[in-house]
């Protein structure tokens, strides 16, 4: 098998050609996306930056001219586009028009860790809960539990999200006082902090990633063990070591109190995002599981006398994981642009709020950079999904070769 995979990715192989072709398509698509985004932003009626300047009677005309020239707005649109494109593809994202002269890269660097932290944790919980629930639904077909979970999940999936978010704040923050009403940190904790909130979030993110990866990979690796007791032992060990290491790391970390503050602020938005988002994953998993359960290899597994749990988890669920994995890879792309509504409701100053503010103020360099990052990640997500499919599913590989 390993030899086959190696050959599959060589340059002259069909899969290799397929990968190169997809990559070229991706680059072209990004260029089109980039240009269309710029045109769309330029097409917004009026010029917000110029108007803000022009509507200030205290500004003499020369100050307005100077301010426009500094931002390059005195040049024709096509020239602006050409100059921006050149600088973008040489790694210079330019300076913000509305927060001149702050570099766009600085603004994004400030906001990105917060958004990635919030939405990656929420995504993780959505997929964990959604996958387990989907598995349960497929296996407990036509039971009362299936109906209850489906109704609850779909209801939450279709609820008017801003209203639901505010109701959750009202209940858990205002009435019960369990969590903060908004924001991502409490000033009292951070006023003399020796570290920035972003730095703490980066540490939190990587420590979570490490634990998740450790437990996930160990669990995956344990599935190769033949004896159930060994598998169980390794899995439990992975959880104990992973969580223990995580606890040990933070218990001895001087930034623990700051991480706790961020974590407390994460509870409500992550919970709400998980509640409204898990049903999508649940339904994908359920459908996939139901399809898989019709397959011959599941019947064979049962005929071999394997336990129901073994058939469900080792045979059906693993295969059903494929579309879920693809969906996860694609969803990762949405992590960096955040959620404008979520960030607004919970007062979470991330990429979503930055994107909204930049579009409203027609701050094209910031808006375009934010859109481009999302676009690049989305394209990479699709690209990875295509490759993943090609590698994981022989049928797709054959089709792609054909």
């Amino acid at each position: 098998m390993s030899g086959y995979h190696a050959n599959a990715f060589t340059k002259g192989s069909p899969l290799g050609r397929y990968v190169i072709k997809r990559f070229v398509q991706m680059v072209v698509l990004f260029l089109v996306f980039f240009a269309l985004s710029w045109i769309a932003l330029q097409a917004i009626p009026g010029n917000s930056i110029e108007q803000q300047l022009r509507l200030n009677p205290n500004l003499p005309p020369e100050a307005i001219t100077q301010a426009l020239a500094r931002r390059g707005l005195d040049k024709p649109p096509l020239e602006q586009f050409w100059l921006y494109t050149k600088s973008f593809f040489t790694g210079d994202l330019g300076v913000s028009w509305s927060r001149y002269p702050q570099p766009v890269s600085k603004l994004i660097a400030e906001r990105l860790p917060r958004t990635v932290m919030l939405f990656s944790v929420a995504l993780l919980f959505q997929y964990l809960v959604g996958f387990q629930a989907g598995k349960y639904l497929a296996w407990r077909r036509n039971k009362r539990g299936e109906i209850a979970i489906t109704i609850a999940g779909v209801s939450l999936f279709t609820v008017f999200y801003p209203w639901f978010g505010l109701m959750m704040i009202l209940l858990f923050a205002v009435k019960l006082g369990w969590v903060p009403t908004n924001g991502f940190i409490v000033e009292a904790t951070w006023r003399d902090a020796p570290v920035s909130a972003n730095r703490v979030m980066v540490i939190m993110f990587f420590s979570l990633l490490a634990v998740t990866a450790f437990i996930g990979l160990t669990s995956w690796a344990s599935s190769r063990l033949d004896r159930p007791n060994q598998r169980r032992l390794v899995k439990i060990g992975a959880w104990v070591v992973g969580l223990g290491g995580f606890w040990l790391f933070w218990a001895t970390n001087k930034y623990l109190v700051y991480a706790q503050d961020v974590a407390v602020h994460l509870v409500l938005p992550v919970s709400v995002l998980t509640m409204v988002g898990f049903a999508g994953v649940m339904l994908i998993t359920r459908t996939s599981m139901l399809e898989t359960m019709k397959e011959d290899f599941v019947t064979t597994a049962r005929a071999k006398g394997l336990s129901e749990a073994m058939v469900r988890d080792r045979h059906a669920a693993r295969t059903a994981l494929l579309p879920v994995s693809t969906s996860l890879v694609l969803a990762v792309a949405t992590v960096i642009d955040g959620g404008i509504i979520t960030e607004s409701i919970f007062g979470w100053p991330g990429m979503g709020q930055l994107l909204l503010a930049s579009v409203i103020s027609e701050d094209i360099p910031v808006a375009l950079a934010a859109f481009s990052f999302t676009g690049i990640l989305a394209l990479l997500g699709h690209f990875a999904a295509d490759i993943l499919y090609g590698v994981l599913d022989p049928r797709i590989r054959v089709t792609s070769q054909g």
């Binding site: 020369e62 002269p101 908004n182 991502f184 570290v195 920035s196 490490a210 990866a213 990979l217």
Partner: protein, 663 residues
């Protein structure tokens, strides 16, 4: 055994170690900024006579310290005062940094009375001609210090001017420092004849000399250069010297900058909070009493009393002992109005500082809390209907007057908009008492709808307009039946007209108003239709080409009314880059405007503004419609030196150095 041998223990272990290293490499260096600094009270324009709630405790600050928290819905974008006044001129940055600078002259809250800060003389000296130039020498006080103990002196004034000039700073710096146009042939299109500031020099530590290229009037001198913010040279000088250009300079941090007020900027966490801490303040313990007539009685910490703005008369409207009393002021960035209200009602903040005012929809929730208080004050701005006087029929004064006559502002304010709007007749509102002309009354003010229709018809007839079908008031239906048809002036009929107004999503008040104006115009036979239009689109239309009929927008204005000149002077036609959107041309107004710009005495300038306002009220290039009140909410353990005044507390960035707590 086979399976065990394949188990990737080493890979898992390596990954775990790498992840832990990555996490640990998060490092311990601080990204938060910390700095000493402090502030001075300085503001902008005008005179005002509001009533007020005063603090009953006028003792100097003692060891009783407290901290209070302010909610803001937008984040701060800079900690550099220079950048704030140039490219990042948001009100929120003003709340945080606005009190940092010193000034030679300033205005006293809440009356906007012009008073000396660094200067010795009670009023700015007028100066004298020196060849082609005009030179004003201002002696400065000794003993004023920045928060780090360095003297505030003439070198700081000259340094600030030279930095703005040499680095080419823009934005509101140029509004504060009216630079003279240079003689460079490359800038031949600039108006080099305009009066501007050539230089500011320190002849000694406590004498500063301003040189203009002509005699400056009030807008350029007393309400311009005399009040520009002064920055500490000993701190900013080295930064300026090492900055290659304005961009580099303005990208530098202002952390550590000493300030000339009660608070120093301490730290900021982007998107979350910013802090000001109490700092040594040269004016601590000073007492300022403001009287109803705008006169100010100032008693220095040393006990010397001076009076500015005339002889004190009438009631005391503000009595303020300078602190700071709070040890810390913490700004919490809530990100939205809902969150700000929640933070306020949940006790997370003590005051919501917002230029927009608290929305009325939130009032019930706020007032339900017994420890919260809401105050309301008039806004320093107005919404208006503008006519394009370059086009027929808006070019006809009778037409404009008839339209103005039909607009029942009291009815709109009281019956339709129900207290959300305050009817207004002049571009200088009554709350701006010194500059407001009380004798001006709107056309057809106080008339009933029936009387308005009759008066408007008469105005049009007097101006030579005729109808195919005359409009008539129908007393049974309380409406105009029939409506006018075939309205003509000297045989020329009116084509379809539109009034552009922001849609209800952007501003329901103006959107509603536009529909009523449409209806009233149609009563007279004017084929006018209201067109909800995006704000940006309206601005682009009316500040560019002149192909529009009428529009409704608003202005936020300062207190010194030089904007009246900007809005209606014929040389400022918006088609040529100015602010005169109606394209109003009136020789008498232009002459008064020119005289106003040269006036050096407040009384003269006031008389000129009164006359200009009368012309505007008669010629009606604008129909001033209404203003909105500013509502502000705070916890009632806080007390401010005043709670009534044009623009409210936010007009003065929250008067941080004077805020006290009863707890």
């Amino acid at each position: 055994m086979r399976a065990s041998s394949k188990f990737p223990w080493r890979f898992v272990a390596l990954l775990a170690v790498l992840a832990m290293i990555a996490a640990a490499c998060g490092g311990s260096t601080s990204d938060t900024t910390a700095a000493p600094g402090d502030d001075v009270t300085e503001t902008t324009a005008g005179t005002d006579t509001p009533d007020t709630t005063m603090t009953d405790d006028t003792t100097p600050p003692s060891a009783e310290t407290f901290e209070y928290k302010i909610a803001v819905i937008e984040d701060f974008t800079t900690d550099n005062y220079w950048t704030y006044l140039d490219t990042d001129n948001s009100v929120y940055n003003g709340y945080l940094l606005g009190g940092q600078a010193a000034a030679v002259y300033t205005q006293v809250a809440p009356s906007f009375t012009l008073a000396p800060a660094m200067a010795v003389d009670a009023v700015p000296p007028v100066g004298a001609a020196d060849g082609d130039n005009w030179v004003i020498t201002v002696p400065l006080r000794e003993g004023m210090t920045w928060s780090d103990g360095e003297a505030i002196d003439a070198n700081d004034v000259a340094f600030t001017f030279n930095t703005v000039k040499d680095l080419g700073l823009g934005g509101n710096w140029l509004g504060s420092i009216p630079l003279a146009a240079d003689d460079d042939p490359a800038t031949a299109d600039a108006d080099e004849s305009a009066v501007g500031l050539l230089s500011v020099e320190a002849t000694d530590d406590y004498t500063v000399v301003y040189t203009f290229n002509g005699a400056p009037g009030l807008p350029l001198w007393q309400y311009g250069a005399a009040q520009f913010p002064v920055m500490p040279e000993h701190f900013w000088g080295p930064i300026v010297a090492s900055s290659a250009d304005a961009e580099t300079f303005e990208a530098s941090s202002g952390a550590g900058a000493p300030t000339a007020g009660g608070f120093t900027f301490t730290s900021r966490e982007e998107g979350a909070f910013a802090r000001l801490s109490a700092a040594p303040y040269y004016d601590t313990g000073a007492k300022t009493v403001v009287y109803e007539n705008g006169a100010v009685e100032y008693t220095s910490p040393a006990g010397v009393t001076e009076t500015y703005g005339g002889t004190p008369e009438g009631e005391v409207i503000s009595e303020d002992v300078v602190g700071p009393f709070a040890s810390e002021v913490v700004f919490t960035v809530t990100g939205g109005q809902d969150q700000a209200v929640l933070a306020l009602t949940e006790g997370e903040v003590d005051f919501w500082l917002t230029p927009l005012g608290v929305q009325r929809g939130f009032l019930d929730r706020i007032l339900a809390e017994s420890d919260l208080e809401v105050i309301t004050n008039p806004n320093s701005g107005f919404r208006y209907l503008s006519f394009n006087t370059r086009k027929f029929p808006m070019s006809d004064t009778g037409f404009r007057q008839a339209m103005a006559c039909m607009i029942d502002k009291e009815f709109m304010a009281n019956n339709v908009l129900q207290g959300v709007a305050i009817s207004l007749d002049t571009t200088v509102p009554p709350a701006n008492a010194f500059w407001h002309n009380p004798s001006i009354e709107a056309i057809c003010a106080g008339l009933s709808q029936e009387e308005r229709v009759g008066a408007a018809i008469q105005i049009l007839k007097d101006a030579g307009w005729t109808w195919d079908v005359d409009p008539e008031w129908n007393a049974d239906n309380l409406d105009v039946i029939p409506k006018g048809e075939g309205l003509k002036l000297n045989g020329e009929a009116i084509g379809d007209l539109t009034v552009l107004a922001p849609g209800p999503g952007y501003d329901p008040l103006r959107a509603t108003y536009s529909l009523f104006i449409e209806d009233w115009a149609q009563d007279l036979g004017i084929p006018l239709s209201a067109e909800p239009t995006g704000f940006n689109v309206i601005v682009e239309k009316v500040f560019g080409p002149t192909d529009w009929d009428m529009y409704i927008l608003g202005w936020g204005t300062g207190v010194f009314p030089d904007y009246v000149v900007d809005f209606f002077e014929s040389s400022g036609d918006s088609a040529e880059g100015g602010f005169n959107t109606p394209g109003f041309k009136n020789a008498e107004f232009d002459a008064l405007a020119a005289e106003f710009k040269q006036a050096t005495e407040l009384a003269d300038a006031q008389a000129l503004i009164f006359q200009m306002e009368e012309i505007i009220a008669t010629e009606v290039p604008y129909v001033v419609l209404f203003t909105t009140p500013v509502l502000e909410a705070f916890r009632n353990n806080l007390s401010f030196p005043f709670t009534a005044g044009l623009g409210g507390i936010q007009q003065w960035n929250g008067s941080q150095a004077s805020v006290r707590s009863s707890q």
